[in-house]
Amino acid sequence: MSLLGLMIWTPIAAGFATLVLRDPAVVRRWSLAASLFVFVLSLVAVAGFDPAAGYQWQYQTSWIPAFNIDYHLGVDGLSLPLVVLTAFIGVLAILTGWNTATRHITQFFAAFLILEGLLIGVFCAMDAALFYVFFEAMLIPMFLIIGIWGSDNRVYAAVKFFLYTFLGSVLMLVAFVYLALQSESFRITDWYALPLSSLEQTWLFLALLLGFAVKVPMWPVHTWLPDAHVEAPAAGSVVLAAVLLKIGGYGLLRFCLPVAPDASLALDGLVIGLSLIAVVYIGFTALAQTDMKKLIAYSSIAHMGFVTLGLFILYRLATETAMLSVSGAIVQMISHGLVSAALFVCVGVLYDRRHSRNIQDYGGVLETMPVFGALFVFFALANAGLPGTSGFVGEVMVILATFQAGWWLAVLAAMVVVLGAAYSLWMVRRVVFGPAEHAEVKAFQDLSGREMLILMALAVPVLGVGLWPVPLLDLIEPSVVQLIDQAQAFKAGGAP
């Protein structure tokens, strides 16, 4: 079995094994060991990865000859960082959920491990049918995570999450089937060279866009996210924000831009418009939230809007600048994965102590939890794009690039920083600073060793990418160059 196959199937097998192990103490350690193993494997994959050499760690074998479907895995510079992110978040999710579940504890860890395997599969699949299988199968564990271990309104949130994503993905499936019939193959790279008329591309683009826009999520199909985030247990929110949303961005990169370049060019205004609405309108919505998880959820939508902006602005830019914006969008995805995960862990830490997500139930947390307060402020600032954190790198790249497309676009895009600073800082001001008025807050214990470990583990890459982003940029650069070539290889003579 290949390295990537091992990374996909180890957690899934380990997940089913937990159902047999049953003893919670054993299951926790076992799950942690399995996820750590996968993380180590992902680092091995990075160590043996040559950014200039295209798809690597490939493994291909015929799976369903009747449909021309292959079991075909591989990673390039676009997917590898996301695979590492998934493996990393996988470990932290297990740690975050260490004591969360009060019932069905073994199933809790099984669901997270299986989810991790499926998520890695999504990023490694080079066959569209395989991609779709992982893409949709992952709904099952996530549905159960929200529904079983979520808070009061969990059933509504879980069903909404499932149906929304399912709706987007079935239309995507029709698009996949169409593409597969045209090219007689489900291999994604075969689709890049497929000649398609403008009309075909437009329909395909819209079907694919809907599928991925739900996942990103883009305004106006974002409404499942605040519900899902708020109701999911902290560990579920971490995975949801850090990895699941990235699948949307990844899908746009992997499918929309290179498969339907003419339609991407023709409809880039639509995506840019929706992205800017997300940045500005959702940014303001975030300001109005009183529930911390909801606030971070809306912040996620705004930041992901920024990612889609960075991707689709490329048609309005010279190649050099397009590089900057697409790389910036990818860095922003990674950064948002780390920062939003950290913020959800922070909220989880507070929730464990006070059982409330309302901002007004806190205040003066710094008095009793100085270490936590410092870290919370740090991540909030990273969310606002403070220089020196990973949030800054992606944002400044995309904003700089956007300037070339029009100053007013850049001004609107920069609202993500302004509004991000406003709602992030306002939240920490009300939660962390000020006098501790609530008796419960006065009795808080500072971070436990486990919580400290999680937050520190997240702080390291946030700072690392912020201070020295070059290794990450080097990793993705050749693939981004290739992507931009493919995205501008117009098939229907629609070049501007």
Partner: protein, 475 residues
């Protein structure tokens, strides 16, 4: 071909008929083992006498082919499975485990066998009636239950009406072409201009079949029959006869009336979309599991019709595969229902609440069945839908494909509801499934087969394509 040779090739049917007669007359404790023996012997006879190439028998009335034999074996396996599931049913100690019940079940298989081999409209009709006449008394068997009587009467009256439609359509076809032999019919239709008699015949035949299969707008009997009849009878009805129904459709429309495809596909599209629409929407409003499964069956029938609309060998192959997978899912779902009803009545969807808490293993099996019904990957239901979609998109009918997948999303809701009742809700009263380990094992195997088909679908896909090829090539 000599009579002896023909008799050898008809051996599976003969074994079943003889076995059915013995089952009726044997002492009661022997009825069940004898039924199993008969079905096993039929399978054995089929394997032993399988012809190398499709071969016509009895003056061209029947056709034997190894490809369709595979489906007949599956019919036997499903019948064994559902009869075994039904043995745990409490009421069944009385009439539902009587010799008559097993005799009827075996005769039902005879009907299905004849349908699968018929090359002649009369033979086809005969097979259909043998199947139907076995089902009516099976449903009516619980005499003191008013609802079962109502269901049986409804089924009988509407079934007879549908048979009338079908027969009338066949007679019109005969009037127009002068033959009842399906191969000749296809040939002559290919050389004829379409005329009104042919169209009228086609419409009557399609309406008759739509009645029998329960496609909207001819579906009204189906929820009442599913819900009103005894659980064992409903279980029997839900699985193997679906395969026979599909073979009937393929034989008539895929083979005999293929030349008129341009005319009947429009009708079939309407039936398909209406079934998908009504089945999926109305299923949401159901509170009883069996009614929900009935509307889900209507929706699945819509999907099969959709596959046939493609009018291509691939479409027919996908219809076969879809039906096989559906029959397995239906058998598993009803098997699970029988298990849950082994000691108490648990017919309400609410009775699934909290199942994960008390019986996590069974909950996972139900989860697999439900996600397979919804067509979510890691289950065979996904390929069933993918295959149909491929055939439909290939035929250029992508608006239909889009409509079908959108309605699938609607359908996902009521399957999800069962999952969320099991996993997210507390039990209102404790579930008391049967403790028969063989039953649990069979239901689990039934559900897990769906995952196995997902992992290794190629043999099943090839099998479906080959079986469909017999009908296309039979002209």
């Amino acid at each position: 071909m000599s009579v002896a040779q023909e008799m050898i090739l008809m051996l599976p049917e003969i074994v079943l008929v003889v076995g059915a007669c013995f089952i009726l007359l044997c002492p009661r404790p022997l009825a069940w083992p004898l039924t199993m023996l008969t079905l096993a012997a039929a399978v054995g006879a089929m394997l032993a006498t399988a012809p190398d190439a499709p071969i016509l028998l009895m003056s061209g009335m029947f056709e034997r082919s190894a490809e369709v034999d595979v489906l007949r074996i599956l019919i036997c396996v499903l019948t064994v499975l559902v009869l075994r599931y039904a043995r745990g049913y409490p009421v069944s100690s009385d009439r539902l485990q009587s010799n008559e019940f097993y005799t009827l079940a075996t005769f039902g298989c005879v009907g299905m066998f004849l349908i699968s081999g018929a090359e002649h409209l009369v033979a086809l009709y005969m097979g259909l009636e043998i199947l139907a006449l076995s089902l009516y008394p099976m449903i009516a068997m619980v005499r003191d239950d008013g609802r079962a009587g109502e269901a049986a009467l409804k089924y009988f009256v509407l079934g007879a009406l549908a048979s009338g439609f079908l027969l009338y359509g066949m007679s019109l076809m005969y009037a127009a072409t002068g033959t009842l032999h399906i191969g000749e019919l296809a040939e002559r239709l290919g050389q004829m201009e379409t005329n009104r008699i042919l169209l009228l015949g086609t419409v009557f035949m399609l309406a008759g079949l739509a009645f029998k299969l329960g496609a909207t707008p001819f579906h009204m009997w189906l929820p009442d029959v599913y819900d009103g009849s005894s659980l064992p009878a409903a279980t029997y009805l839900s699985a193997a006869p679906k395969i026979a129904g599909l073979l009937l459709l393929l034989r008539l429309f895929g083979d005999g009336l293929m030349a008129l495809a341009a005319d009947w596909t429009t009708l079939m599209m309407a039936l398909a979309v209406l079934s998908l629409l009504l089945g999926n929407l109305v299923a949401i409003a159901q509170t009883r599991i069996r009614r929900m499964l009935a509307y889900s069956a209507i929706a699945h029938t819509g999907f099969v019709f959709l596959a046939l609309c493609a009018g291509s060998p691939k479409g027919m192959g996908s219809a076969v595969f879809y039906t096989l997978v559906y029959a397995l899912m239906a058998a598993g779902s009803f098997g699970m229902l029988l298990l849950l009803n082994a000691r108490t009545t648990a017919e309400d969807i609410k009775d699934f609440k909290g199942l994960n808490h008390s019986h996590p293993w069974l909950a996972i099996m139900v989860l697999i069945l439900m996600f397979s019904m919804a067509g979510v990957p890691l289950t065979a239901g996904f390929y069933a839908k993918l295959y149909v979609l491929q055939a439909v998109v290939e035929a250029g009918l992508w608006p239909l494909a889009v409509a079908a997948v959108l309605l699938t999303v609607v359908g996902a809701y009521y399957y999800l509801r069962i999952v969320w009742y099991m996993y997210f809700e507390e039990a209102e009263r404790p579930a008391e499934p049967g403790e028969d380990l063989t039953h649990v094992f069979l239901v689990s195997a039934n559900a897990l087969v769906l995952v196995v088909i997902f992992a290794v679908p190629q043999p099943w896909l090839e099998m479906s394509q080959r079986a469909a090829g017999v009908f296309v090539g039979g002209q």
